[in-house]
């Protein structure tokens, strides 16, 4: 490709010739295409956020937090029941999912012999559960509630469904955190005559807490935005009272949003946007906490 003249020029500035091939029209087009791909993702995010904020800002008022939903006067109605419902459902979700997830992670990471077929089965099974559609967990919980004669449209069923949904995520991230604790710590403890469980409880797990906490908060932030499984579990009820326990009726923010978006009146859409802002801020807060924990407490071994 290079003419004699170019070669001669290359003799003066030899690095040029090498650089030029990365500046061929093809290469530049390719790089532009890559930029467009990334730019598209950024653009989508910005549009989505701006759209929601512009629509919702006028309704981001005190009524949103203090008033119950209303079918008649969306101008003054609020998401009080949904906000409290989300808080309560997520609280119970954490209560169910964290001990189970961490315990399963401890078993798989600290005690399971990976050569055994049943442990491999458990691992593949968890990988698969992580990719099961969210709505299926709603169907599972609905069937479970029916089988044991539990009312299906209450806080506890919602919390169970979400806990099952995020269990694989908590197990996987907790395992990563446990794996990062150096084996010298375990050996030091065992050599002192500590039992394997004492070692896990007093050394390995405390050392892994920052990683476990980060993963758990991210998993819970997924649960708080999840609506699909709760559609089968009475989340879309018209609730004008504060949820007051495991067997209380409830609604949650994402489902309240879903309900409002479906209404034709523009006031409901504004209300939905305002609730979306609240939900996104909540997620931002949870992510910020997770990042702070990760940066501040994560030990580099």
């Amino acid at each position: 490709m290079a003419s004699m003249g170019e070669l001669a020029a290359g003799a003066v500035a030899p690095l040029r010739a090498g650089k030029n091939s990365d500046r061929s029209p093809q290469s530049i087009l390719f790089l532009i295409a890559l930029w467009v791909a990334l730019g598209f993702a950024v653009l989508c995010l910005l549009t989505l956020l701006i759209d929601a904020v512009l629509d919702g800002l006028p309704r981001l008022d005190a009524n949103l937090f203090t008033q119950y939903a209303s079918t008649l006067s969306p101008e003054t109605g609020g998401a009080r029941a949904a906000i409290l419902g989300s808080a309560m459902v997520i609280g119970f979700t954490a209560l169910f999912a964290i001990p189970l997830g961490v315990a399963a992670a401890v078993y798989l990471e600290e005690f399971a012999d990976g050569e055994r077929w049943w442990n491999r089965l458990i691992e593949v099974n968890i990988q698969n559960l992580a990719a099961v559609p969210a709505i299926i967990y709603g169907m599972l919980t609905a069937g479970f509630a029916l089988a044991i004669g539990l009312e299906r449209r209450v806080v506890v069923t919602a919390a169970i469904a979400l806990a099952l949904l995020i269990l694989p995520v908590i197990i996987v991230t907790s395992r990563e955190a446990l794996k990062a604790v150096p084996s010298e710590i375990r050996q030091g403890s065992l050599a002192l005559g500590a039992t394997p469980l004492q070692t896990v409880w007093r050394q390995t797990l405390p050392a892994a807490v920052p990683g476990v906490a980060t993963g758990t908060i991210l998993a819970l932030s997924r649960a708080i935005g999840e609506a699909a499984p709760l559609l089968l579990l009475g989340g879309l009820s018209f609730v004008t009272y504060d949820p007051n326990g495991l067997l209380s009726g409830y609604t949650v923010l994402p489902i309240q949003i879903y309900g409002w978006v479906q209404q034709p009146q523009v006031e409901f859409r504004q209300l939905a946007s305002a609730a979306i802002i609240v939900l996104l801020l909540l997620l931002l807060l949870m992510n910020a906490i997770a990042i702070i924990i990760r940066n501040r407490y994560q030990r580099r071994w």
């Binding site: 010298e184 375990r186 065992l190 050599a191 005559g193 039992t195 007093r202 050394q203 405390p206």
Partner: protein, 297 residues
């Protein structure tokens, strides 16, 4: 077990300490009188150790004497660490590890079904190659062992002080017991690990190349400490440093590795076990002589 006189066997006989001269030809301190017939604290009888199908060590017969320091030396891959870790069953943690033969603690095979590896490790403590303090305060590092083993302790403060004094660390850390163990230097961390081990009052302390991550000055301190500890504990040390073996130990076991099978797998074997003085001055085996001289000349 061919040397010495049973009648002179006693605990904690003071020994002439070798000064911590570091770079010097192997100089064996005047030998302690070693017992020939005193019962060993722990011994290996025809021990083979396998990892899966691979035989790492074969046919080891070794008796570790009470209140003695026994050094295990040899080229890398000769299985000396493997033998060490089988003594308190730390090998149990490695998948596929298997011990054949008898490892007897006061005559009791530690691989018997009714033996609790956890109780065994309380009696047979271990110090590792790299200092591995827990990510806790200095105080909690020491208190951890007594707490988890459910020792009846009248005053934890006293016990912590006692352990730290025992590891010659007290004066350096007495004003910062609540600080993180990670604030200590490498040598201090290793002495903390020794203090942690003696806090549970073991009978035997296993040391797996305890100075390999330390500088010469820190190494010298640990070696001095080992001489003091011999009064109260039986010490078994794996070291790749022959001078260290010569300086600190009463008896030395020399291991080597040889190819077995066609795939380059090497199996460790005990060549010679004798009082340290003898190993370094007039070994019975040519292999020992070659190793001791070759590594050094």
């Amino acid at each position: 077990m061919t040397e010495g006189d049973p009648s002179t066997m006693s605990t904690g006989e003071p020994t002439p300490d070798a000064p911590g001269e570091l770079i010097k030809p192997v100089e064996v301190p005047a030998a302690r009188k070693l017992s020939a017939t005193a019962p060993p604290v722990i011994e290996c009888v025809n021990v083979d150790i396998y990892y899966g199908a691979f035989r790492a060590v074969s046919g080891v017969n070794l008796a570790y004497g009470n209140h003695e320091i026994t050094a295990m030396i040899g080229p890398s891959g000769c299985g000396k660490s493997t033998v060490l870790r089988s003594l308190n069953r730390m090998n149990d943690l490695i998948q596929g590890a298997r011990v054949e033969g008898v490892i007897a603690y006061h005559g009791k095979n530690v691989y018997d079904k009714d033996v609790d590896a956890i109780e065994l490790r309380r009696r047979v403590g271990m110090v590792f190659q790299k200092p591995n303090p827990f990510p806790k305060s200095i105080y909690d590092n020491i208190a951890y062992g007594p707490r988890v083993t459910g020792m009846k302790v009248e005053s934890m403060n006293d016990l912590v002080e006692q352990a730290l004094r025992g590891a010659a660390l007290w004066d350096e850390v007495k004003d910062k017991l609540k600080e993180s163990a990670y604030s200590l230097s490498g040598g201090q961390q290793q002495r903390l690990c020794i203090a942690r081990t003696i806090a549970v009052k073991p009978e035997i302390i296993l040391m797996d190349e305890p100075c390999s991550a330390l500088d010469p000055i820190a190494t010298g301190k640990i070696e001095d400490l080992m001489h003091q500890l011999r009064d109260d504990y039986t010490i078994i040390i794996v070291t790749h440093n022959m001078q260290q073996a010569a300086r600190v130990s009463d008896r030395t076991a020399f291991f080597t590795a040889e190819a077995t099978g066609g795939n380059g797998a090497r199996t460790g074997r005990l060549v010679e076990f004798a009082p340290t003085e003898k190993i370094f001055s007039s070994p019975a085996q040519q292999e020992t002589a070659d190793y001791v001289a070759g590594r050094f000349g």
